[in-house]
Every structure is written in structure tokens, then in C-alpha cells.
Amino acid sequence: VIATLRRRGAVLGWLAFLAWMLLLSASGDVTLINVAVLTAIWTTWGTSFNLIWGYAGQFSMAQVGFGALSAYVAAVLVAEQDWNAWAAAGAGIMAAVLASVIVGAASLRLTGFYFAIMTLAFSLLLLRFLGTLDLAGKTTGMSSSFDFGTLSIGSSTWDLGSRSGGFLWFMVVVAAVALLFVQRLGRTGVGRALRALRDDEVLAAAIGAHPLTYRLTAFALSAVLAGVGGICYASHLRYITPSFFALNLIIVMIVLVVVGGRGYVFGPFLGAAFYVTVTEWIRIGDELQAGLFGVVLIGVVLLAPRGILGTLDVKLPRPRASG
């Protein structure tokens, strides 16, 4: 049975993902729909971190910064230039990709130590910069309610901004595309090259996987997903200030990918479901929450550093070598 479950891991993941969203939305309860929306958004955002860290082995703290950059670029374009929300979102994502290429080109040639520092410096300095920018409302922030319009197919319409469900399914589709993208990528040559570089850089480079090229590609792709995640998050909040994207959020990102299981397609989803359930549903220890997740992170690192999926992967018996 376990061997079958193992082979069908991807299918199980998709089932869990859809069941989570369907059950929560079927409840019709505002809190639970909120839980589903945030799970979907964090799945997308966390997947961007999973791509660069779990698959490419580079510990990036820039994913929150990329999200903030995209959200702010989009919000400014909508507010000041009256751009269409889709075009503004596209421009925001481009900005994140550009930033990732600059930061990545400077630090991915060096050891992971430099990359981790550069990405954290990027995230925090960006926020301090935004906090001084008149255009972005300085530290008081600005509106970020993007109007993505209504999709109509035949006679049925889908209001992408509707809080009673339209927005939720929009976010679910975005998260599903992110998951599908990483799942597909894992099976292509690029995905294999990235994992090979993660596990043994010298060997992988010797058989022709150029480290900088592949890692930079992965970082740029992760910036696209991070930008999408940030815009979705801003769109959900409808109002953003630099402090929303502070160190706390970087820690949340790390916690949910570590807990779910880095390097597994559905790791970020599992972590997101856990994180959002605790913070938005059962609401354990309101004021102590940050500290609680700190303790969870320390505990997981000491006891099960591969996270939930990684621990299951190691503990469950493996199917006999056949594929």
C-alpha cells in the first residue's frame, strides 16, 4: 500500500490541495474562506522559495523583498498612472526579475554565505528605501486593491475580485499553476541540472551544468513566482505598508517551507496550510505567535530538519528498485 501511495505522491498532493480549498470554501464561513485564500497565496509565495532553495539549493531571503517590490511597483502604476491591473502586475513582476538578475549575478558566483546575506540585505534595504519614498506613501503605506476584472465564458461570469469566492478561486488557480510549474520543472533537464548542482556542484559542473547560468535562471524564475505571490498578498490586504514585508514575513516564509519539507512540490502547501491554520483559524497565542513559530522552527531543525514530507520520505519503506 505504502509503495502505491509513494508512487502516487503527486496525485495525493493534488487531492489534498483541492480538498482543502473545496472544503473550506464550501463552509461559506468568512474566516475559513480567508484561511483558504491565505493558504493559496502562501503556497504560491512559498513555492518561489522552494524553487530557489529546495531545488536549486540557494538559501534566498529575497523572496519577500521581490514580492514587496512587485506589489509596490504595481500599486504605484495603478495609483499614479491609472494602469490596468494586469499590466501593472506584469510590470511589477518584471521589476522583481530584473532585481533578481542583478542580485543573483553579483552573489551566485560566490558561496551560499554571500547569497544569503545579499538577499537579506536586498529585502531589508528595499523596505527602508520604500519607507522614505513619497510616491509609495512612506511608512504609512498605500492602497493596493487591484481590480483584475471579470472573466466571462459564455453566459457564466467569474468576478476575480469577489470576496465571496471569486477571489479565492483566482488565488487557487494561481497557486495551482505555481505548483504545476515547479512539478514540471523538476522533470525537465533544467530541474535535473539544478538538483545535481545542489547535491554535488563539482561533479555536476564537470558533466556540463554551468552553475551560474542554471542558478541565475532558477533565481529569476523564483522571482516571477515571488512577484506573483507578493501581488496576490497585497491584493488580498488591499493596503500595504513597508512594515508588512519586514523580517517577520521572511521568517514566516522560511518556517512554512522548512516545516512542509523543502525540495518537495507540495512542501510549501503543507507548510502554508499549517501556518495559516494556526494563525488565522485556531489563533494560538496571538501576541506570542512570532515566538511560537521561532520555537517551531528551532524544534523542526533539531528534530526533523527535512520537514514533514522529507521525514515521511525517509521513514516510510521505499518501493523495490523498479522506477
Binding site: F59, F113, Y114, L120, L125, F129, G294, L302, P305
Partner: protein, 288 residues
């Protein structure tokens, strides 16, 4: 009135703080291969302990000394109880430091509240030279830092424990074979890193008001100083801190705060492209 003397004094004061943070980071990274992101939190801890003890009426200097010693003990305990368990994979050490940040932030909010706290003005002297004024508290930050740097340098070069630290950083296996208790030396390095952060924090508190997130900026600046000066070199950390402090003070005085943040990041990118081992040749040769 010229702004230059003021800006230079602020620059040196910032340089002192950044150097102390960068030096702590270098020590921990050199011996433990850990990027300790919790260094900023240890700094804030130093600030709060100093403020609280000084308010108890024991005076600023004894409070600072007690805070530094307490932080050293906490650093030793953190390494012995947490970081020592994950030596095989440095990324896990980094993750632990992130967890510690979250725990500390909550403790700070609970213990000292979200509002800024300040020390009052323990060093309320102002020197007037010509048209320029020099605040005593800034001079004190610079003076204490110079003494601490000289002390640390002498410790690393002259004492047996200091030599053990350097030997472990250079070749830990060989050091172990020579009978150096490398694990204990690593705990000690972490204790020194924490003490340096707390010293920076205690000094920070006589110039700036302290709130729970005030450590983020010195942490980032410490990292930038470290990279600009050349990672792994104590002298480089100090020179990088000096350079960054001056850039920041002059940039903020004559330009704008936001632009200065961008400039610092641009400098960091430039250094990584052009001189990834740091800008100073001497520093590159002075490993731990």
C-alpha cells in the same frame, strides 16, 4: 555653519557600531561556519539589558559591563545547547539563528513593549571646538570601541586562548589533534560574538532610542561591512565598518536617507562584482 565635523563624528560613531557587529559576525562565521542572523537581536538584547540595569541605579558603565557579560553567557549557552547539535550542516545553524530572531522579537515585545526606550543622557557633555560641536556620547561610543578592538586584538594574538581560537579557525582538525578542545573554543567564539553585539547594543542605546526592531539595520550594515572588507578577516570587518559608516553619515547629511540605502546596496553589488574578496589587500591577508 559647516555640517562636515558633525557628519564625520556621526560617521565614526556608526563605523564603531558596524565594526563591532561585523567583528562578531566574522568570529562566529570563521569558527562555526554559521551566518548568525540573530546578531541584530543580540545587539538589541544588549541595549535593553543596559537600559534596564542603568535604570536600577547602578550607573551606565557597570550596567554596560553586566549586559556584555550576560550576553556572553547567553551566547555560550546558545551554542552549547543549540548550534553544537547541527555542526554537520551550516544551513541548519542559519535556520536556528532565524528561529532565535523570532523568539527574541516576541520576548522584547513582551518584556519592553513596542515603544522606544531610551537611557536619558548618561554622558551629557558637549565639546565646542570653533563652530563645531561634538557630543560626548558619540565620542564615548568611538572611544569604547577603540579600546574593545585593541583588547580583542591583543587577546587573539597574545593569550593562549586567543591562539587556540585562531588555530581552530585556521585548521580545526589539526587544532583538535594538538589537544585544543575545539568544541569549547567554538562555544567561546559564539560567546565573544554575542558579547561584541551586546557591547554595540549598549553603546547604541546612549545615542539612539531602542525598540524591538532597532537591530535589523546594524545587522545588515554589519554584513555589508563584512563583505566590503573581505569576509573572514577581523581587520577587514573594521575597515569595512569604517568605510560604510562614513559613506552613510556623509550620504545622509548631504543627500537623503533613502538614496543612501540604495547607494550602500549599489556599493555592495559593485564590490562583489569587482573585488569579491573585499576591497583591501592587507585585510585579505589578515585572517583570524
Amino acid at each position: 555653519m559647516s555640517l562636515l565635523p558633525q557628519a564625520l563624528l556621526s560617521g565614526l560613531m556608526l563605523a564603531a557600531i558596524y565594526s563591532l557587529v561585523a567583528l562578531g559576525l566574522t568570529l562566529v562565521f570563521g569558527l562555526l561556519d554559521i551566518v548568525n542572523f540573530a546578531q541584530g537581536q543580540l545587539l538589541v538584547l544588549g541595549s535593553y539589558l543596559t537600559i534596564t540595569l542603568a535604570r536600577e541605579g547602578i550607573g551606565y558603565w557597570p550596567a554596560l559591563a553586566a549586559a556584555v557579560l550576560a550576553a556572553a553567557a547567553i551566547g555560550y549557552a546558545l551554542d552549547a545547547s543549540l548550534f553544537a547539535r547541527v555542526r554537520d550542516d551550516p544551513i541548519n545553524g542559519l535556520l536556528l539563528s532565524v528561529g532565535i530572531i523570532a523568539v527574541c522579537q516576541t520576548l522584547f515585545f513582551r518584556g519592553w513593549g513596542p515603544n522606544s526606550q531610551s537611557l536619558g543622557d548618561p554622558i551629557d557633555i558637549v565639546f565646542q571646538i570653533g563652530s563645531a560641536t561634538f557630543q560626548g556620547n558619540r565620542l564615548a561610543v568611538i572611544g569604547v570601541t577603540l579600546v574593545a578592538l585593541a583588547g580583542l586584538s591583543a587577546f587573539l594574538r597574545r593569550t593562549l586562548t586567543g591562539k587556540a581560537l585562531r588555530a581552530t579557525a585556521e585548521q580545526s582538525d589539526a587544532a583538535l589533534l594538538m589537544g585544543i578542545p575545539t568544541e569549547r573554543v567554538r562555544h567561546l567564539a559564539f560567546a565573544f560574538g554575542a558579547a561584541l553585539a551586546a557591547l554595540a547594543g549598549g553603546l547604541f542605546a546612549i545615542v539612539f532610542p531602542i525598540d524591538p526592531t532597532v537591530g535589523d539595520s546594524p545587522l545588515i550594515k554589519g554584513f555589508i561591512a563584512l563583505i566590503i572588507g573581505g569576509a573572514g578577516s577581523p581587520l577587514g570587518a573594521v575597515i569595512g565598518g569604517l568605510f560604510l559608516g562614513m559613506v552613510e553619515a556623509l550620504g545622509i547629511t548631504y543627500w537623503s536617507t533613502g538614496a543612501t540605502e540604495l547607494l550602500e546596496f549599489a556599493l555592495l553589488i559593485l564590490v562583489l562584482f569587482v573585488r569579491p574578496n573585499g576591497i583591501i589587500r592587507v585585510a585579505r591577508e589578515s585572517t583570524l
